[in-house]
Symmetry: C2
């Protein structure tokens, strides 16, 4: 150190990586298509299209390692960069994670159970898929979907036509809409020398298909935890993955099904900033730089509340002794992730704080399910 890290993508994940990097004395530079990308408030920004190889080439000059804050980096861009400078995670791993079909096929090859799925490139394949996958099912674009975008639920065979009209024309995947008791994620980090470490399992809560809250450590059996960690490690080793990634799993009656991986730092790991010895952001940087990984040990119980569309009044949270406030410096926009808060302490302290906050909140529905999951731990 000092070392210069380039990040493709300048959103809140890049911003939080840049802040973690600044502490370590790293120089962080970001490239984004938006001139006002929120990471530009804390790191120099190159505003360019990811396919503008002249601009990308200039960006790469003087950078020691390149990484990403989003998974949909064009494969050609990732390969172009990798020919000039170390790129982590490697472009092949990124390519697999970009395609829901390739990803699920890999999960299966690695012995990781997934919901049943079928590839869909025509209305006929969709109709055939409904028979093999069953109903209800969910039709998704294989690429570029997130936060419930590019997805349609099918409840009856008659829904096929409308779903095809809405999404058809790009490669699709039909997945069984499995019943599940909860979604959990495991945030892992793998170093350049193969060192592997995971954070405590996280239970995720959604509203309108967007993550609304996370609780970590999630209540869990030893078996569930072992399986989740085994899956994550197997995947990381197969992909020769370097950096932080998230694996999302459905738990149903004690069984785990793998939903998807995110080849980057992840929203369900934001609690690690205050709730673990080393945050996911610092550990991602340590990994891609080949530095020793930091301890992933959790410090007590953490609950992360996501701020969607607009940031609420900060005062109630700031007045909570366990409250940590994060605002990404973005303008408000429907569905946009604009900030989050983390409460960190003992389970009972966190539960008490959540109850106080819920009482004053516009959307207590964001908090009450978390309080319910915490309740059995308090007895």
């Amino acid at each position: 150190m000092p070392t210069t890290v380039g990040i493709l993508g300048g959103g809140q994940l890049a911003r939080m990586m840049a802040l973690a990097g600044a502490r370590l004395g790293l120089r962080v530079r970001v490239v984004d298509t938006a001139a006002d990308a929120c990471a530009s408030q804390v790191a120099p920004l190159t505003c360019a299209d990811y396919n503008d190889f002249d601009a990308i080439s200039k960006f790469a000059d003087g950078i020691d390692v390149v990484t990403f804050d989003f998974e949909n980096v064009p494969a050609d861009t990732a390969m172009f960069l990798a020919s000039r400078v170390p790129v982590f995670p490697n472009p092949q791993a990124l390519a697999v994670a970009q395609d829901r079909l390739e990803e699920k096929q890999l999960f299966q090859r690695l012995g990781m159970a997934t919901p049943t799925f079928a590839t869909v490139d025509s209305l006929e394949e969709l109709q055939a898929g409904i028979l093999t996958v069953g109903l209800p099912a969910i039709l998704k674009t294989r690429r570029l979907g997130y936060d419930g975008k590019g997805q349609i639920r099918l409840r009856a065979e008659a829904d096929a036509d409308a779903a095809w009209r809405s999404l058809g024309g790009v490669p699709l995947i039909l997945e069984s809409l499995v019943p599940f008791d909860r979604e959990i994620s495991v945030i892992s980090v793998r170093g350049r020398g193969g060192e592997f470490s995971t954070y405590a399992l996280t239970e995720n809560f959604h509203e309108h298909s967007i993550l609304s809250a996370s609780l970590s450590p999630a209540p869990r059996s030893e078996e569930i935890e072992d399986t989740a960690i085994t899956f994550a490690r197997r995947l990381a080793e197969d992909l020769d993955y370097v950096g932080v990634f998230a694996l999302e799993l459905f738990e149903h009656e004690g069984n785990l099904l793998v939903n998807e991986m995110a080849p980057r730092v992840h929203n369900s790991g934001h609690w690690t900033i205050e709730g673990a010895i080393t945050s996911q952001f610092e550990n991602h940087l340590r990994a891609v730089l080949g530095l020793p990984l930091g301890s992933t040990q959790a410090l007590g119980t953490s609950v992360m509340l996501n701020w969607i569309s607009e940031v609420p009044d900060a005062l109630p949270l700031l007045a909570e002794p366990l409250g940590h406030w994060h605002d990404y410096g973005k303008t408000s926009r429907p569905g946009r992730k604009v900030g989050h808060a983390t409460l960190n302490g003992s389970a009972s302290e966190v539960s008490d704080a959540l109850k106080r906050l819920s009482a004053g909140m516009k959307r207590p529905s964001q908090i009450d399910p978390v309080v319910a999951v915490l309740a059995p731990q308090l007895q």
Copy 2:
């Protein structure tokens, strides 16, 4: 929020404030006389002389509140800013802290014991001062001294001439060089509404008159702690102080003497980044913005090691599970503060980590005295 905070001074303290502020969604801008001031890596910099009121006026445009990362801001500049925008701490408090004589006179007025002192504006006053203060003594410039600069020790009356030749011509103060068992500091924060809170007492270790290490919580009696906190509160209330400040005290045979105050976030409070629920940097920003203060509660035991002149090899520290690395992005220079590290955990974990680090360090003398102070806690 979002709110824009202006900081006069762009060194590592401004840098760490800017990083804490970015997390909260604040826009932070700094002004410094050096174009490469290290805070400029994480926040927009105005490079200007503090007496260039045109530049300072432009800097103040669009800023919601102004604060400082160093105490020697010209009084005229602070007053000029205060006529346009809220400035915290207030310029009067800053003025008192800038002058060792005024500061000590205030301590006395508030019933806070200090080493004996005398004002010195001539060789005759120095000779008379030696008689009232006694020897050994230390002759200091009243203004602009720090880290042992602008100070000369006097061991015999015959030293007076040489000391006067070296420092004379500016207002001086002669202080009794009191014997002390240790130096402790108390980092406090006072909000705009008068709320007051202190961090755990910190014991400070020096090499060549520069802080080399800090340990918090310092081993202490209840009486010592109560006295230190009472002194800090009395001072803050008298000055109507808003923000974080440090009060440095000498402890000798169970008694406390006040040495000096620093009207800003302080090197001996760097451990609060990982070692307290809310860091001194975030709490300073909360205070000057009139937000609720965050909890100052300590999380276990913390030891901060200062990196002076150059940053050592980071790997041994990064390989310690309890280790947190801070590099200010500065170039090396003799006597310059370029980074620090914090170890945070239980007292025995921290002690064990320190022993491992000491074994591989160029300057084990930086660590060994801290290990000795921790030892009685481990029995």
